[in-house]
Amino acid sequence: MTEIAAVAIIIAIGLTLVRALLGPTLYDRVLAVNSLGTKTVLFIGFLGFVLGRPDWLDIAVLYALINFVSTIAILKFFRYRSFQVPLHRRPVTKTPTEQGGDSV
C-alpha cells in the first residue's frame, strides 16, 4: 500500500514542479517550492516504510526544518534585498534601510 502512496506523491511532486517552473510571479514559485518540500517529507517517510527502514524519518525531520527556514529566508531576501536585516518582534518606527547596519 505504501508503494501506491509513494507513487502518488511522486506524481504530486511532478505537478508542483510544473507550477514552480510555470508560476508567473515569484510568490507562485516560492509557494510551489514550499509545498514541494512538504511533499518531499511525506515521500521520504513513505520510502522508508517501502524499503523497511523507518530510520529515514530522521532525514524527514531535517527536511521539514530546512524547508521552513528556506521559505522564510527567500521571502526575507526579496523583501529587504539582504539577510542582515533583523526581523523585529515589536513594531519599529524606522524604515528597514535605516536599521540595516546596526545589528546582525
Binding site: V18, R19, F46, L75, F78
Partner: protein, 120 residues
C-alpha cells in the same frame, strides 16, 4: 481477548496502508489545485490542503504501520513541526505578496486585475 488482538493485528497493515494512500491522494489533489487555480492567493488555499489533511492522514497511517514507539515519536515531531511552521510560511508568503502590491482575482466571475508585470 486474544482473538480480538489477532483481528486488530490483521487489520493494522490494511488500515495504515489505506490511510497512507488517502493522504497521498489528498496531496495529489492539492497539487492539482495548485496547478488549476487562477491566481497566487487562491493557490495558497490549495497548498494548505497538503499542509493539513494530507500530512495528518499520511503520518497517522505511517504511525499505525510503525514497528516501534521511537518511530511514532519521530512522526509526531514531524507533524507538530509542520503544523507550527506551515501557517507561518503561508502567512509570510501572503503578506509579502500583499505588501508588494500583487492584486488578487476577486468575485465569482474571477475578474482579472491589471497586474503590472514588473512587480512580479
Amino acid at each position: 481477548m486474544s482473538e480480538l488482538l489477532d483481528i486488530l493485528m490483521f487489520l493494522k497493515p490494511w488500515v495504515g496502508g489505506i490511510l497512507c494512500v488517502i493522504g497521498a491522494l489528498l496531496a495529489l489533489i492539492g497539487s492539482i489545485g495548485v496547478l488549476r487555480f487562477p491566481d497566487f492567493f487562491t493557490r495558497l488555499h490549495a497548498a494548505s490542503i497538503t499542509d493539513t489533511s494530507a500530512v495528518t492522514l499520511s503520518l497517522l497511517g505511517m504511525a499505525i504501520l510503525a514497528p516501534n514507539w521511537l518511530v511514532v515519536f519521530k512522526l509526531a515531531a514531524i507533524w507538530l513541526f509542520i503544523f507550527l511552521t506551515s501557517p507561518t510560511g503561508s502567512h509570510a508568503l501572503a503578506n509579502a505578496a500583499h505588501t508588494a502590491g500583487l492584486q488578487p482575482v476577486l468575485g465569482r466571475d474571477l475578474r482579472r486585475p491589471d497586474n503590472r508585470e514588473e512587480e512580479a
